[in-house]
């Protein structure tokens, strides 16, 4: 019979509706403002006593706490309002001290039975919940240059060992040039280094009666160093972000040399930026003897501003990369200090060097890679950004080696407690393998986020109301069908967003609103077909049947092409725009289901199988 669905079809539709409701449901529970507690070091853990300390302090400060609980990641303190949360942060941070990180966060309030089914609210984008988005560029050429500098020490040692005389060694960009006076030395060196260091490319040249051996990495080696540097930076940044105690951070590679860092809910962006972008590292050098001179020594100033200088050997003992743990504290005079533990390789190297140098001075050098960018006019008359990287080195301490140093020791001479604790953090999290630059930064304050949600939701409500009214007036009973489908479409769309844990952004909400306008399109197409058929004198049931059938190919073709465009939008866009693409494409899919299947089911239920009933359309 015409316009009758079999029972299983109705049941299937009901099942989809039930699932949709279930998974859209968590979005009705608003997130709680909360403080996330986590341990700063591996030695301390967040336990019941930590929570007790925090709750006691909050009670004293008259701040109302909603709930305190232990989680796998640490502890969570929930509050009733954002103001309570902000007021609580300094209180809790003060009472827990440096061993714990206190971070602002929003935690879902999804009931347990829902979360056990995998249901949860849709994720909110940074523009809706506030936070920072950084795009960092890794200076991979600098990584190559750094590696060449390390190699230059090894090559010099090899040349000295074989008594091959060279005049100087210089690293410029990606080429290491060794200068010789005699051609014979050049040949000897080329043979020796070519055997000992096979991963390099060698070229010889002669100018002004001097002979040069130019050493550079092969292409394979270069790209390996570059991808290693990126990988290492990713790891380091993840460590640093974890040290900041941010909940749900995102650290992700983008393209060949960029890294995206997103910190939802973070307020102190300046601190976040200082920690993430810091390229500080330590180097340990022996002080040069009086007889040393030339290119093997470097004269550096002290960081204390006294203007003193010291001559240090260029050769490294170890760098901060060998540090396995570091913490900041105060020495007996109340000056900030950093306690350092080295890994086994670093410890061995340190004791080997210091054993032979008892009585000599060792300098600890604080090194920071920075960059300056300028805008210059290029050949085409356009302004072009030119970046020049440089490093700032300063001695933080120069002390006599009293005895062989081992795995752990301490360094002093830092400016402030903040500097010592940040240095400790950086040493713990590891140094960046290559300098990074901020190429993009977006900070959204929490109040703007809340404002955006409010505006988005209210315009969605008004939009829905207007469309529904119009459909009701224009299509009467069939308008009711279309409106029910439209409402369910939004529920299904929210359910899909939650299930895919897609991110909802402000343009994303606009996408939902736009989808509402377009979702009725399929029903409009069907209804106008039915009207046409009726006008042509076709009987009611036949008119409904062919109206749906003939509109289907049109709806299909029209929606598939829009979907294709939405997919491109997703591929090209970033951040908020991606959010728009997601809701637009999901909306097209769910609206096809509701407008075709669901509306048909309603029409069949009401009109199916009855003769000559008047159609209110």
């Amino acid at each position: 019979m015409l316009n009758k669905y079999p029972l299983w079809k109705y049941l299937l539709i009901l099942l989809v509706l039930a699932l949709g409701l279930l998974y859209a449901f968590p979005n009705l529970y608003p997130d709680d403002p909360a403080l996330q507690l986590s341990a700063q070091k591996t030695t301390s853990v967040v336990d019941q006593s930590t929570l007790l300390k925090a709750t006691d302090a909050l009670k004293k400060a008259n701040i109302e706490l909603k709930e305190a609980e232990l989680t796998s990641a640490g502890g969570t303190l929930r509050f009733n309002s954002g103001e309570d949360q902000l007021a609580a942060k300094p209180v809790v941070a003060a009472v827990l001290g440096d061993d714990f990180v206190t971070a602002l966060n929003l935690v879902p309030t999804t009931p347990d039975w829902l979360s056990s089914l995998g249901a949860g609210p849709a994720k909110l984008g940074l523009d809706l919940r506030g936070g920072v988005h950084f795009l960092l560029e890794v200076d991979t050429p600098a990584a190559v240059k750094q590696r060449l500098e390390v190699s230059s020490s090894e090559m010099k040692a090899a040349l000295r060992k074989d008594k091959i005389r060279y005049r100087s060694v210089a690293v410029a960009d990606s080429v290491l040039s060794i200068r010789f006076l005699k051609e014979a030395d050049l040949d000897l060196a080329e043979n020796l280094l070519g055997d000992d260091f096979p991963e390099y490319r060698y070229a010889t040249r002669e100018s002004n009666d001097e002979f040069y051996l130019d050493v550079s990495f092969t292409e394979a080696a270069t790209s390996e160093i570059e991808s290693y540097a990126l990988q290492q930076n990713l790891t380091t940044l993840r460590n640093r972000v974890n040290e900041l105690g941010v909940a749900e951070p995102l650290v992700q590679r983008q393209g060949s040399n960029r890294i995206v860092v997103e910190l939802p809910g973070v307020q102190d962006t300046a601190a976040a930026k200082r920690i993430i972008g810091a390229t500080a590292n330590l180097e340990f050098h022996l002080e040069a003897g009086l007889e040393d001179s030339g290119s093997d020594i470097e004269t550096l100033t002290f960081r204390d501003g006294s203007g003193r200088t010291a001559r240090l050997e260029r050769d490294l003992i170890i760098t901060g990369d060998s540090v396995s743990d570091a913490s900041s504290s105060f020495d007996e005079n109340g000056q900030p200090q950093v306690n350092i533990s080295l890994d086994s390789k670093g410890g061995k190297q340190m004791s080997k060097v210091t054993r032979a140098a008892v009585g000599r001075n060792m300098g600890v050098v604080f090194i920071e890679h920075k960059s300056r960018s300028r805008f210059v006019e290029n050949a085409e008359g356009k302004m072009e950004e030119v970046r020049r990287s440089y490093s700032e080195k300063g001695i933080i301490s120069l002390a006599t080696i009293q005895t062989t140093l081992g795995n752990s020791f301490r360094i002093t001479g830092l400016d402030s407690p903040r500097e010592s604790s940040e240095l400790a953090l950086l040493l713990r999290a590891g140094a960046l393998a290559a300098p990074i630059y901020f190429v993009e930064e977006r900070t959204i304050g929490p109040s703007l986020g809340a404002e955006n949600i409010k505006l988005g939701v209210s315009s969605a409500q008004i939009g829905l109301l207007v469309v529904m009214l119009f459909m009701l007036v224009y299509y009467k009973v069939f308008g009711v069908f279309a409106n029910i489908s439209l409402a369910i479409n939004i529920i299904l769309l929210m359910a899909c967003m939650s299930l895919l844990s897609a991110t909802l952004t402000l343009p994303g909400i606009a996408g939902i609103v736009l989808t509402m306008g377009m979702a009725v399109d399929a029903n409009v197409l069907i209804f106008s077909r039915i009207k046409e058929e009726l006008a042509a004198g076709v009987p009611n049931q036949q008119a409904i049947h062919s109206g749906f059938n003939r509109a289907f190919t049109t709806i299909f073709d029209a929606n598939i092409t829009t979907l294709l465009v939405a997919v491109i939008l997703f591929a090209v866009g970033t951040g908020p725009v991606k959010g728009f693409a997601v809701t637009l494409s999901l909306g097209i899919l769910t609206s096809m289901f509701t407008a075709i299947v669901l509306t048909r089911a309603q029409v069949n239920l009401v009109y199916g199988g009855r003769k000559n009933k008047k159609l209110y359309i």
């Binding site: 900070t443 008004i462 939009g463 609103v513 306008g517 399109d521 092409t561 090209v572 725009v577 693409a581």
Partner: protein, 304 residues
């Protein structure tokens, strides 16, 4: 809505002239004035702050230029208490923080950071390239899909209609100096999708009618098809426009330009799917044989 009988095809010469004029104005404006690209595409720094009570913009300008920030634009954003400070070609990534500090340290009233954005010049340029590429890719894929599902002449007609919509919307943004940022680009791609939707519905009807109405000339047939789909085209555009007006009025500053681009684009898109695409099909000399394969000879033998 009764099926109308408006002689659309009779107006095609006037409409073609109208479209051409709009396109010429748009291209002219784009060539001479260009687009006012937003921060996303030019690179630079932007700081949005909220004051407790409305400040004097001139005071802020004076304060910032005293502190050595030249080449700045200070504007209200949405309300009198919201201020946006823009700086082109920033030299450092920390500029935003510094400006905020300067404003906050001036301190009679509370100044809170709403948003701060820094986009490197390089990134902006890449986004511009990517956006243009995305647009071309979208048009290309649409062209291929329509060619496969319909016919090559339809694919030319719909892509020309889409390009027509995009150029005129861009022209609108250029002519009225509306800022063109990433969300506007997204809106433009959505317009491509939407306008395509409309055009396909009309094309679909034309294809169907070629199969049913054997004796009608293409001229009358296309006219009939447009009239048949007119009701649907207008109702859908109307519901979408309702929603967009709501977004434009109540959606807040952040998506103001976004909804404006959609509004303009969808009005143009509706116009083009009624007039431009069908007009082009006729100009391309669309025939029944393009869609319905010519009857085979054996088949004719069997007929009396």
């Amino acid at each position: 809505m009764k099926v109308t009988n408006i002689p659309f095809m009779a107006m095609r010469k006037i409409v073609a002239v109208f479209s051409l004029v709009l396109i010429l104005i748009s291209i002219g404006s784009l060539a001479t004035k260009g687009l006012q690209f937003g921060l996303d595409f030019t690179g630079g720094t932007l700081v949005e702050v909220a004051y407790e009570k409305a400040p004097e913009l001139d005071d802020i300008r004076a304060l910032l230029s005293e502190s050595g920030y030249d080449d700045i634009v200070v504007q209200n954003f949405g309300s009198t208490t919201d201020i946006v400070v823009r700086m082109a070609n920033s030299y450092t990534a920390t500029l935003g923080d510094e400006v905020l500090l300067t404003l906050q340290n001036n301190g009679e009233t509370n100044v809170s950071l709403q948003r701060s954005e820094f986009v490197g010049a390089q990134v902006g340029e890449e986004l511009r390239e990517q956006g243009g590429l995305g647009m071309l890719l979208a048009l290309l894929i649409v062209m291929v899909y329509v060619a496969v599902r319909f016919q090559f002449k339809f694919s030319i007609a719909s892509v020309v209609a889409l390009t027509h919509d995009v150029i005129i919307t861009l022209g609108f943004f250029s002519l009225f100096n509306v800022e063109f940022d990433l969300t506007v680009l997204a809106a433009l791609l959505a317009v491509v999708g939407y306008s395509l939707n409309d055009t396909i519905v009309v094309c679909d009807r034309i294809r169907e009618n070629f199969r049913i109405m054997r004796e009608t000339t293409p001229y009358d047939l296309i006219n009939e098809s447009i009239n048949q789909t007119l009701g649907r085209t207008l109702i859908t555009s109307l519901t979408t426009l309702f929603v967009l007006v709501v977004l434009f009025v109540a959606g807040g500053e952040a998506i103001h330009n976004f909804s404006m681009a959609l509004l303009v684009g969808i009005i143009i898109g509706t116009y083009s799917s009624i007039f431009v695409a069908a007009n082009l099909l006729l100009a391309l000399d669309i025939k029944r044989e393009d869609l319905v394969p010519a009857p085979k000879e054996e088949l004719e033998d069997e007929l009396p």
